[in-house]
Symmetry: C2
Subunit: 236 residues, 2 copies
């Protein structure tokens, strides 16, 4: 995964990067220092596949900068986003692959340019044995990931797709602090686990309702409130 042509080693000190995150700044001790000394920082450009279905993980990974998208793919080629790993967070998919979880077929891709801290396995296992703080941090990351994916099961099972679409667009607009979303209809489909055709049809409905304005490769949010209200009015 981590020796691809797109990766370039960075000379920066891992400790300097991790110091920005309270949970990692609170780590201390010789074992932690040795683990950081043995770790490297690797950069990948947006769009680089980081972990494929069936591929084994060979390192413990913390995202230092950027966003990693973890997703599942159907035989039909349809995708659904499972969760994202953001700066300061542990890549739980990597940990699960290290633990050889059965039948794990999720994939990871750099959604933005990313910098990753790559820790050799012997240091990961030593920290697990010696640092209660590290252990709890890791297990909390796994528990939170589990909670997020259980929530996704609820959403996919119980929420109408037009509602999930409207909420996704509203959330994106808030996160980007911009009404102009550079997401193609295919990107939205890959987020929600549906097809481009279905997304295009639902987006047209939202346009007719005055919630969004569509143009090539762009979705402009007219009003987050209108988006939420418009779809809410349709809810039975």
């Amino acid at each position: 995964m981590l020796d691809g042509a797109c990766g370039g080693h960075d000379k920066n000190n891992p400790a300097t990067w991790l110091d920005r995150f309270p949970v990692w700044r609170a780590m201390s001790g010789d074992g932690w220092q040795r683990a950081l000394d043995a770790s490297t920082i690797v950069s990948f450009a947006a769009g680089t596949p980081l972990l494929q279905c069936g591929e084994q993980a060979e390192h413990f990974v913390i995202v230092l900068h950027g966003v990693v998208r973890v997703y599942e793919t159907a035989e039909s080629g349809r995708e659904i986003c499972l969760y994202r790993v953001r700066s300061g967070e542990i890549c739980v998919l990597t940990v699960s692959k290290l633990l050889k979880a059965k039948g794990l077929c999720a994939q990871a891709i750099a959604e933005q340019d990313v910098r990753l801290l790559i820790m050799p396995l012997e240091h990961f296992y030593r920290l697990m044995a010696t640092s209660e703080r590290f252990r709890l941090q890791l297990m909390a990351a796994m528990a939170n990931c589990l909670s997020d994916i259980m929530h996704l099961v609820s959403q996919v099972s119980f929420q109408r797709l037009d509602l999930r679409l409207a909420r996704f667009i509203a959330r994106l607009a808030r996160q980007q602090s911009s009404s102009l979303l550079k997401f193609t209809h295919q990107d939205v489909a890959n987020e929600l686990g549906t097809t481009r055709e279905v997304v295009s049809r639902l987006l047209k409905d939202l346009e007719h309702m005055g919630c969004v304005r569509l143009s090539r490769g762009n979705i402009r949010v007219v009003s987050v409130e209108a988006l939420q209200k418009g779809v809410g009015d349709k809810t039975q």
Copy 2:
């Protein structure tokens, strides 16, 4: 959770129960023995709620006998089964609640009569610190649970409901080694995250296709092969 009126303490020795499972039989050492000495065995009748949404966990739990069903509920009352915890397995939901995972709202119920090993938290945390085998066992359970739920996201997102229904019925018939399934249409709906009405309609389709025969409170599988083939023929 564990002091409800339905629970009755069992005098049996936890070690005797755990000895049936290779992963637990392989555990040894003073710490493990002390943890077992401090643990209790509790029984609950089928149908007893074990962990509610919002409720905190106060013990580490291993299922010794029977099956625990972990599920999510929608505001509308619809349910979907997330996974089951079977004898010899760790209740990962409890562990996630111990770790105070954010927004965790899954619930657990005894699907059959169950016996649970209840371990006080101080022993759980001590084993985490001192036993690599215990630690890896716990983390593997969390990783496998994550993998199962990621797989469920794929199924719910990408598979047609009639196909999921047919596969569920075929799996039940194989597991029970019986063609007569004592599952109501509501039970099936709660398994798949849909409504009784939808399940009844899809089951009638399967009956017309000669895959099952329906009677009050029962589903009789005419042929597992016919069930799989019949639905397969309808797949686009």
